[in-house]
Symmetry: C2
Subunit: 384 residues, 2 copies
Amino acid sequence: MTAPDLNAPTTTRPRAAAHLDLRQDVALLTAALIDIYSVSGAEAELADAVEHALRTVPQLELVRDGDSIIARTNLGRAERVILAGHLDTVPLPTTEGSLGTVPSYWPSGAPGEGILYGRGATDMKGGVAVQLALAAGLFDGGAEPDKDVTFVFYDHEEVEAVKSGLGRLVRNHGSLLGGDFAILLEPTDGTVEGGCNGTIRFEATTVGEAAHSARAWMGSNAIHAAAPILARLAAYEPRTITVDGLDYRESLNAVKVNGGTAGNVIPDRCVVEINYRFAPDKTPDQAEQHVRDLLDGFDVVRTDSAAGARPGLNHPAAASFVAAVGAAPKPKYGWTDVARFSELGIPAVNFGPGDALLAHKDNEHVQADAVRECLRVLRSWLTA
Amino acid sequence: MTAPDLNAPTTTRPRAAAHLDLRQDVALLTAALIDIYSVSGAEAELADAVEHALRTVPQLELVRDGDSIIARTNLGRAERVILAGHLDTVPLPTTEGSLGTVPSYWPSGAPGEGILYGRGATDMKGGVAVQLALAAGLFDGGAEPDKDVTFVFYDHEEVEAVKSGLGRLVRNHGSLLGGDFAILLEPTDGTVEGGCNGTIRFEATTVGEAAHSARAWMGSNAIHAAAPILARLAAYEPRTITVDGLDYRESLNAVKVNGGTAGNVIPDRCVVEINYRFAPDKTPDQAEQHVRDLLDGFDVVRTDSAAGARPGLNHPAAASFVAAVGAAPKPKYGWTDVARFSELGIPAVNFGPGDALLAHKDNEHVQADAVRECLRVLRSWLTA
């Protein structure tokens, strides 16, 4: 008899998956998802529960990769839409009395009524609950959606991009991610937010010559030399750029500055870290050129960048979705995974329950009715 | 029999003081002093050796306080001069092959000839050797100095001002430190350097409002708000101010800048640390007002200051000393302990062997002849 190998990867050891009832009220399903801890890196239990529940829907083709799951209908429809959401959350609050924790909490005392608190309530277990409820109900009563649907649940969204479960799925299973239009169920308060700004970072460095500050004229002050960098950034007036009918507000900021070594030494180096959030009319290279032009004469090095995404709302599938939602779409300012779909040539928007400004907050919460309304809109659009 | 208490303060345990021959060539005496390790906080062995050697001069009244020593003649002369120097050095170099170490080293191969390397060669065991040689030889051959002399040897000069042995002597034995004129034997390359600039530090802080950098307009950028502080400092033209006939060159610099918390957050705080080295025509309060005027409109807080010292070269004792040295006196830019004498109302100058720019360097060294020349000048002035 061989002793169990406790050092084996957890996926090779049996786990009892929590049972998720996908047909319960979607707000209660949200609470059930909140109650399964899934901070980035610890998504296994939730991924198991999601996989286990989806296996009860025979019309779905399932692929599991790490703690990500792809579930697809194969109805031979003319159009395929992707509904995507991440399973992970940021860490639990450490402040005593915080409400954005595990387990979930209904201040009304009546589960399903009013506001639901808990880590992930906003970002984005409400959206994942809507995905799961849709997946379970697509074929109810003999109905069939008029589009093929690909559901994507993925891990590691809240951490470094290199760990992204969605990025891994693109690499390992790119052919399963094809489609005409993608909806990311990130919180948008129930409106459609199209595309996203790109983001690019730079370090602008000035170099001087160290000297004792009692004999400053023997050296050259790198912090003083950085004054024009800050002055140009402070004077810069960020633009608003219309792309595919949506207005993208840009911003360009020094986010860090650091110079000097000691209180009696003329500083020989000063580094200004700059973040430019640019409209999706530009590539990262064009955004870089814009900043280089502004900081002409200074040593500027690009340290990081991610392309933006055009909203693509003129695509028929996108247009029909916007019409189904009814409200005017808005631009998305923050970078989101819609940009990954955009890179694959798939127009993508954000549409989900909850207020994005509550994401990662200690009082993270979502209205039960907002989750229900999101489900209603998507279900009626998919089966129109 | 009682076992020795190894935890007792070292001063209560017997130490065998190293023997110092004060009548040997003063450059060789410098080497002997270098060979006794005396980094700040570990001056005891050197202080013991100095005390032991000075006790052989019966005309000197000795007071020991910690690792500082005051040795005074009491000849009833009309004038009393103070010759002061510190026993401690900065730590030994950590770079392999450095020459500013213990023991001392004569590249000539002939001790006493040419250049002497070793920690403290410049700062300031050459000066201390001159003090000791003077003390030992003042009464040689029945001669007597025409001024009363107070020799001061003190600990903890190279560290925080609050630990200063000279400061402690002023508090504990102020009456023994009276005099008409003080010479600090810090390295000045054999010229008289009068007075010193004062130094004062500030923190200028800007406050903004944090926000995600994708929605910068929700916040306010504290680093951008600091741009005018750097611009005014960069544009400031430092002055040169003549005090008692010497030209004091000032400097005003940002020595550190720090702002921002993360690459995607609009910074809500930026702190610029500023150092103003001001001529001794001003008090620290006047220097503060000057900086406040320049940075009007900003939150400026004084964090540290030390008054400068006027050179006082119009005092008769100072004037006779300058005449004895022969060369034109210069201003001292760096803050030194002459300011402590200045606070006591005693005019003070720096005069010692070695190049101040070599102080604290890994290749610290002094010319044997520079030490001898310093001794010659002081001896002839004291016994004129």
